[in-house]
Structures are given as C-alpha cells and as structure tokens.
C-alpha cells in the first residue's frame, strides 16, 4: 500500500469516527446511543478549543488535556492533524478533488499555488485569541491587578515579538510594537469597569471541529431524524439554515480552490501552522533543481509550493508530492528543503497589529451595549448548570453537543437572543422542543466539553441530599400573562400549566373563583325537583353540562349537571326545593386561577410548553431569578440562593 493510501485510510477512519461519535451523542438504551463513547474526543483534541478556553476561562478543563497531544505531535511532525485526522479537512480535500477532476495538470497546479490570502487565517486566529485574552487584559487593567499585569505584559511581549519577527527587526517594526503596546494599555484602562472587558470564546464560530460538530448535530442529523431515522422523532433547530449555509459555503468553495477553508479561513490550521515552525521533520526536496513537471504542485493540498521555496507552515502533510514526483525528489526529513523553505508564515506587521487590536476591542465593544449588565436579555434562558454569563461566554465553543443530547430538544442555538456575541450558544426555546427541561435530566452538562455548563448531579440540580441547603438550580421563572390565560381572561377552565408543573410541591398553584357568566344574571321562574327554569335569553342546550358550571341563588351554589334552553338540571336535589320563582339567580363558572410561587419555580418551562395557547403562550419562562447570575435574583431573603 502506498503512503498516500495510508493517509486516505486515516482520513476516512477519522471522518467515519467523527460522524459515528456525532450519531451516538443521543440518550437511549441501545448500544449506538451514549454508552461511554468518547463523544467529545475530537473537540478535546482541538488545541484551539483548549487555548481559547484557557485564555478566557483561566483553566484547561479535564479532557481538553488531549489537545497537548495534538500540539506535541504537531511540534514534532508538522500539520499532520490537518492532513491525516481532521474530519473537516477530509471533507474539504474530497470536494476539492471532485472540483479538480477533468482539469489539466497545469490548471490544477495553478490552483494550488501559494496565495497571499493564505495569511488571512493567521489574522483570524490572532483576532479570535485576542478576543479570548480580554479577560487577562481586563484583570490587568484593574487596580492591584498584581500577577495579571505580569501575564498581560508577557502576552504583550509575545505579541510584539511576533510582529517583530513577521516584519523583520526594522526601526518601523520596533515603533510598531511600542505603539501596539500603548494602544493595548489605553484600551485596557479605558474599557475596564462594568465588567465589559472580558474574554469571549468566539473561536467556536470558525474553529473547524466545533463548526462541523454543530453542523452535523444541528442540521444534518435532524434532517435524518425528520425522515424517521436515528431519533425516530422530528427535531427542530432554530436557524439551522444559517449553520447549514456556513457549512455548505465552506465545503462548496473547495470546488473553486481545493481546501479553500483550510488554506484561507481555518484558525485551527493557522495555530497548527504556527506550531509547526519548530517541527523536527518537514517535507523537503532532495535537490534544488528538477524537471519542473508540476506533478507535485498539481496535487498539493496545502498550496505550499513543494517544488520551490516550501512554505512549511502551509503544508498539511498530504504526501501527494512524495507520491507523484517521478524522480523521487521529495522526502520527509530533518533538514530543510534543498530548494529552500520558509518555516514561519509570511505575515504583515500591520495585519497582525490590526487583528490583535480589533480582536481585543471586539468583546468590550460588544458588551458596551450593556448585554451583560443592566440590559441583559431575559429571553436567553441557559441550560441548567450554565455558568454565569461572563464565565459562560469564556468557555462555550458553540459545538452544539448540549443541543443534540437534550432529550426534550429545547436547547437551541441562539440567533440573537443572547446578543451577537452569543450567536449559536445554547438557549432554551420551550415552543420548539417536545417538552420543558426535564426535571430528572442532567445530560447537557455532562456532554459539555468545556464545562460552560457544569456537569451537575441530580442531587445538585434538584437541591437535595448534600445540596439541600442551597436549593434547586433555577434557570428562570415562569410568568403568567393574565391577558392571554384562558381562566384569567376568557372564563374558561384550564390549568394545564399547574398539571404539568413537575416540582413537588408544585410551583404553580390555583385559587378558586366562581365568576358570573356573560349574561348569567337571571331569575328563577320555576323549580321542579332538580330542575330549575330560568328567565332571560335562551341557553345553548348542554353548554353548561361540563361539570364546571354552577347556579347560585341567595348564597347557595349548586353544580349544574345538564341544561336545556330554558332550564338547568342540578347535580344535587338538596336546596332547590327552597328556591322560589322570582329569586335572583346567577349562572357561574368555577375557575381555578393559576399563580406562580416564586420560591418554588425552577424555570423548567413545562408549563410554557404545554400551555394550550400555543402561539404566544399565556405562561412564559424568562431568565429572571436564575441561580447562575446572582444579580438577576428576585427572591428577597434567599441569601446564597440569590
């Protein structure tokens, strides 16, 4: 077997494994559901997930340690991950190959020439990492930032060094670094306060593994679900079209340029490209001169110019050059190429500076709108266990794992409910799923790869056992809209919300009210056993027979069992005997009026989902009183609960 086929097998294997792990990320009892499958493994192998959440959240969470393996191997071998393991890379390569079929060798070689826009991905990476590093910047900006000053300055020195290297140590570069440092510090000082300077993990938007995971879980698999496969029940995800469109665009552009996404956009590829500059081995040409037949260039995946000055940071180790060179000139070795190589990407100082500054400035300016302060969005109800908003955004990579695993299907990718910064982060939509947030379920937190949603135990979620003292986790509060509620506004019995409230004792309780019907003021005209004839307009026969209607005469209220157009038949014979013609009589409906107990409601949304007012429900959950952000508490005297 040729080495190229080994590589193809590896790509097929990892793509298959990735899709398999997407498929099994659902609850159920069969072996092809969650059964200890390492469903987060690809996300954990992703050093960009690890680095961005580390910068923003200050810790490398559990399984993200796997990323060190990828980094170590990249430092040793180069961008093997892109060429051999990345499922997105495999898809890009396959579609790029489709696009190249039938083209002449020269044409294909032309499409694979290094392009200046390949720098773009490094700027995207720097932008995203700068956005994630805002927290460190913010902490340094605080009085007495202490150690954070050192870390921030260290990072700044690194950034300056990168700029320096990129442009050569010229006078202008030095000045550039000094100006950059100045702007950074002014930014830190100016935008600090009010908690708006903070790290935000925006990398998940473009990081290929979260991107593909999200696209498969929220767009591709649900399309199969809706055909009756996998879950066997329809699934809906709001805004799935945009998620699918991004994937379609990323994949489709390969027809124009092979591995378009990998070459021009992919921030993970950029990160691995930067790491590969220290790699021990690299692709190399044995001799500087060759026949220039272009066979290697025509099949080069990374657009790294294998026959000329080899751009090592762009090489994805596809080994096509190794395979196609008729003179066996290509090799993989410790010495640089005989035709020369550039190990580091050829970046522009200005581009780096701008992406660094704009990345660092983006989050503060997004938050200047107050979305994390007084103007927080109440419709953004987060899953149970989600960290407070600032720390949540410092960890969530928008991979969609929580949304896929949620058995109710209520966890949805946010459009703009959580602000632009929260695009595709999980929010609950109680209309779209098949129920509320299930009381006895903690699946989402246990699947979250970065612990943006903490893995809760049932005891912690329900506030029992060792957690009895702190009460249950609340994700919001149900508010009644009395103008839309059937009993409150329309005189019709209902209380479906109360029935479905899963808390014990129920957070929704009722108060009994007997309300006169419209046109229910009557007078007794005749009493005959259990039958009472009434004055006034004709009744609709049977309309009062449901068991919820009563006749009240002089303080005595009796249930109606049946009615004709002029008379009602009472369920009990005691009483009417004493009633006389001419007495005032009221037709009444017995209503149980729902109320929400603020101290008991956990915001699960079962009430909203089941409310028969199925458009804009008469009871709706919003995030007030959620436990994760204490400042949003409603309950006086709840102490630590608030």
């Amino acid at each position: 077997m040729t080495i190229r086929n080994v590589r193809r097998l590896s790509q097929a294997f990892f793509l298959g494994l990735f899709l398999w792990l997407c498929l099994v990320s659902t609850l159920g009892e069969v072996w092809w559901r969650l059964r200890g499958w390492p469903v987060n493994w690809f996300l954990q192998l992703d050093p960009l997930v690890a680095l961005a959440t580390l910068l923003a959240g200050g810790a490398l969470f559990a399984g993200l340690l796997w990323a060190l393996l990828t980094m170590a191997l990249t430092i040793l071998l180069g961008r093997f991950f892109c060429g051999w393991a990345c499922p997105m890379g495999a898809l890009n390569q396959f579609i790029g190959w489709l696009g190249g079929r039938g083209r002449k060798l020269k044409e294909r070689a032309a499409r694979n020439q290094p392009h200046p826009a390949q720098k773009l991905k490094y700027y995207i990476l720097v932008f995203l990492l700068a956005a994630a590093a805002g927290d460190i910047l913010g902490r340094a900006g605080q009085a007495g930032g202490g150690v954070w000053w050192l870390i921030a300055l260290g990072l700044l020195a690194l950034a300056a060094l990168a700029v320096w290297q990129a442009a050569g140590a010229s006078r202008r570069a030095r000045w550039g670094a000094v100006i950059l440092a100045g702007v950074w510090l002014v930014l830190a000082w100016a935008l600090n306060g009010g908690g708006i300077v903070s790290g935000s993990v925006l990398s998940g938007l473009l990081d290929p593994l979260p991107l593909l995971q999200r696209s498969v879980s929220l767009a591709i698999l649900p399309a199969l679900d809706n055909q009756g496969y996998i879950l066997g029940a329809p699934r809906h995800y709001g805004g799935a079209w945009l998620i699918a469109a991004l994937l379609a665009a990323a994949l489709g552009l390969n027809l124009w340029r092979p591995r378009f996404y990998c070459r021009f956009v992919c921030p993970l590829g950029a990160l691995l490209g930067l790491l590969s500059r220290w790699s021990w081995w690299r692709m190399a040409k044995r001799e500087a001169a060759c026949r220039e037949c272009l066979a290697c260039e025509a099949s080069c995946e990374g657009a790294c110019a294998p026959s000329g000055r080899l751009r090592w940071s762009e090489c994805v180790l596809c080994l096509n050059c190794f395979q196609t060179c008729g003179d066996d000139l290509m090799t993989y070795r410790a010495e640089p190429s005989a035709a020369g190589e550039s190990a580091a990407p050829d970046l522009l100082r200005r581009g780096l500076g701008w992406s660094l500054l704009s990345g660092a400035a983006t989050v503060p300016f997004l938050r200047l709108g107050g979305g994390l302060a007084r103007d927080w969005p109440p419709q953004a109800v987060r899953p149970p266990g989600a960290l407070d908003e600032a720390r949540f955004l410092a960890r969530c990579v928008r991979c969609g794992q929580c949304m896929r695993v949620c058995p109710s299907g209520v966890i949805q990718p946010a459009a703009l409910q959580a602000g632009l910064e929260g695009l595709w982060t999980p929010v609950l939509n109680f209309r779209i799923g098949n129920g509320g947030c299930l009381l006895n379920c903690v699946a989402c937190g246990h699947l979250c790869p970065t612990s943006a949603i903490r893995p809760l135990s049932l005891d912690e979620k329900l506030g029992r056992g060792a957690h009895a003292g702190q009460g249950p986790v609340r994700i919001g509060t149900a508010f009644l809209d009395r103008g839309r509620c059937l009993p409150w506004a329309m005189d019709r019995p209902c209380i479906v919300c109360q029935e479905n409230c899963p808390v014990s004792p129920k957070a929704i309780h009722t108060r009994l009210e007997f309300r006169p019907l419209r046109g229910g003021e009557r007078a007794v005209s005749r009493v005959e056993g259990r039958k009472v004839a009434l004055s006034g307009p004709a009744l609709q026969p049977g309309a009062l027979a449901s068991g919820d209607y009563f006749l009240r005469v002089e303080g005595q209220r009796l249930r109606i069992a049946a009615n004709g157009d002029r008379e009602v038949e009472l369920a009990s014979a005691e009483g009417p005997a004493a009633w006389r013609a001419g007495q005032a009589a009221w037709l009444e409906v017995r209503l149980q009026l729902p109320y929400v107990d603020l101290a008991a409601c956990i915001g699960c949304g079962a009430c909203q989902h089941e409310c028969p007012v199925s458009g804009l429900a008469a009871i709706r959950v919003s995030a007030e009183n959620e436990t994760r952000n204490r400042a949003r508490g409603l309950l006086a005297g709840a102490g630590g609960n608030n």
């Binding site: 609850l27 159920g28 009892e29 009756g228 879950l231 066997g232 029940a233 329809p234 058995p407 109710s408 299907g409 098949n434 129920g435 509320g436 299930l438 009381l439 006895n440 379920c441 059937l486 019709r492 019995p493 209902c494 209380i495 479906v496 109360q498 029935e499 479905n500 409230c501 899963p502 808390v503 014990s504 004792p505 129920k506 009722t510 027979a545 449901s546 068991g547 919820d548 249930r559 069992a561 369920a571 149980q592 079962a606 089941e610 409310c611 028969p612 199925s614």
Partner: protein, 328 residues
C-alpha cells in the same frame, strides 16, 4: 429546403416540438383545477373503533387487597375467572400504560413497571400471540418510557414497545362526539390489537379531581390535546366512549394523593394496597375514588359517563369480588 436529409430534419424537429407541446399541454390540463383547494388538507381518517371487550364478560370487577403488585393483579384476575376469560390464545394484546412523565417508578406518576411486567406475563401465559405496549406521553417519549422503567419491563417481558411516531396517528371522529372531531388519535397500536387493556396508576388530578382508568385514554390523543382541559369531564367521557376496553386495571398499591398528576415526591404517596381490575371502566373509577379520599359524586366525569351508558357508577351493584392477596 428540399432533399431527403432536410425532410428528415423537418420531421424530427416537428416531432420534438409536438412532443414538447403535448407534454406541457397534457401536464397543464392533467393538473388543472377549476375550483379553489379545500379549506383543510385531506387526511387519512380512522373508521369507528371496534369494542375490544371479550364476549360475555361485561360488568365484572375485582379488588385485591395487600401484597405485591404482581400478587394483587394475579389474585384479582383469578377472582374474575383468570386471564383466559379475557385474552384467548393467539390474540394480539395492546396494553395502554400511563407513561406521561419522565420520572422514576418510585414516585408513581406513571404505571409501575412491576405491574406491567406481571400483566405481560399473564397475557403471555393466556396464550397471547403478541403484546404491544404504548402511550403518547407528555414529555419526550423515549425519556418517559426509559426513566419510568416501562421500556425495560416491556423488553424483558418480550413485549413490543410502540413509540408515538407521527405516522402512527390517524384523524378520528367519535360518532356523536363533540370534542373528538377530526382529531389525531394514536391509531396504529389500536388497529394492530384484538384486545386492549388499560393499565393506570391511581392519581390526584387538580383539574378533573382524579386521573384513573378513563383519563388514562388521554394518552391516545395527539395534537394540541391540552385545549380539551376546558371541558375535562367531557373529554374523559368521550375517551371512554371511544375506547371500549377488554379490561381496565388500576394500580392503587400506592396512590398519589396530592400534587398530581406529576407528583415528584414520596410524600405525595400513600400506601392504599389495592389492585382494581374491571371490565367496566366507570365502575373501576368509582371504586378507586375512595382510595383518593373522594366520593364518585365529587368526580363529575363518573356520573356523566354513566349517564352516557358507558358503565355503572355504583360499583358495589356489580357484585365485586374482593380478595386478599397478601401472605402468599
């Protein structure tokens, strides 16, 4: 334009044009509709449902006291002459459980898996060819069946669990019905069964007063069924009219006295130690009202069901078999 090659060309072109014109015209005329479309889309409708009652078994009721669920069920059925009276060899049995919520068996908000397992076993021993278990729960069906232990009980008993997939529903109109009119009903399991057994827990229900055997058929409805809570007693009676079962079984070994129908806490339950088995769902519900500390008169759906001719609210008049199941 002359010569054989030109003539051939002419014929070919004329043929293509003719085909295209015929195709377009034919398609247009074939799909032509002079009138507007109907106000509602057409749907597959379900014919009237048969009675699932076994011949000559009407008006029977047994109450077993004490013991485990399986013992109580077996004792009560024995008192009625054994399961063979109701399920004959080779018949297909549908068990309609209450799997409404994704909650553990201990809180008794759903049919207890022990009694489902016992019932499956009894049907099997009576010679049932196939046993189906179904419900259209309120919450995610899979979570409900798994967490309640009902899926495991069905699996281990060799019964088939039928989840409420969209295609399992058909539109149905109850003859003389006022509420169940052109409404989606979980039809597939009903059409696949010769016998239907309702297996429900005894629960408090704030709106209707009690969730018993007649209310259990609510889980056969699809659609936005919650609008029927406006006339809860009316819908319960129509459901009982729609579904004439072989048997109803009420598990009152523990009854949910408050916070129903979801419960959620062991303190909502009381040991009431009864299993009620009846061919008369009205009588069964009237008998179970006592376990919740209510009288049948407090539950308007019972009187209305009797008035509709669906059964006898005076369950004692049926000459109930009362047996002890404990000590075995």
């Amino acid at each position: 334009m002359s010569g054989p090659s030109n003539r051939r060309e002419f014929l070919i072109r004329a043929g293509k044009t003719g085909l295209a014109l015929t195709g377009v015209g034919g398609l247009g005329l074939g799909l032509f509709s002079a009138g507007p479309p109907p106000a509602q889309p057409d749907g597959q409708t379900l014919p009237e449902l048969p009675s699932y009652a076994a011949a000559g078994t009407q008006g029977r009721l047994a109450v077993a006291r004490g013991g485990e669920r399986a013992q109580g069920l077996e004792a009560a059925l024995k008192a009625l002459g054994g399961m063979e009276q109701f399920v004959k060899s080779g018949e297909r049995v549908l068990i309609k459980v209450n799997a409404a919520f994704a909650s553990p068996p201990a809180v008794c908000a759903t049919t207890h898996p022990q009694i489902l397992a016992a019932l499956i076993d009894l049907c099997r021993r009576a010679g049932a060819k196939s046993i189906l278990v179904t419900d259209n729960p309120i919450q995610d069906p899979l979570s409900c069946f798994e967490l309640s232990g009902l899926a495991a009980a069905a699996r281990s008993g060799g019964a088939e669990l039928l989840l409420p997939r969209p295609e399992a529903f058909r539109r149905y109109t109850l003859p003389g019905g006022r509420l169940i009119v052109d409404w989606p009903v979980l039809a597939e399991p009903l059409l696949r069964a010769d016998r239907v057994i309702g297996l429900a827990p005894v629960k408090d229900h704030h709106r209707s007063g009690a969730s018993l055997s007649m209310k259990n058929w609510y889980g056969l409805l699809g659609g936005r069924r919650n609008i029927f809570h406006q006339d809860i007693h009316g819908i319960i009676v129509e459901l009982a009219a729609m579904l004439r079962p072989t048997l109803v079984i009420l598990d009152g070994v523990q009854s949910m006295l408050r916070n129903g129908p979801t419960g959620g806490s062991l303190s909502d339950l009381k040991d009431t130690g009864r299993i009620i088995v009846s061919t008369d769902q009205v009588a069964a519900d009237a008998c179970a009202a006592d376990l919740l500390g209510k009288t049948p008169a407090q539950l308007p759906f019972i009187a209305r069901a009797q008035a509709t001719g669906l059964g006898n609210a005076d369950w004692r008049a049926l000459g109930p078999q009362e047996v002890e199941a404990s000590g075995s």
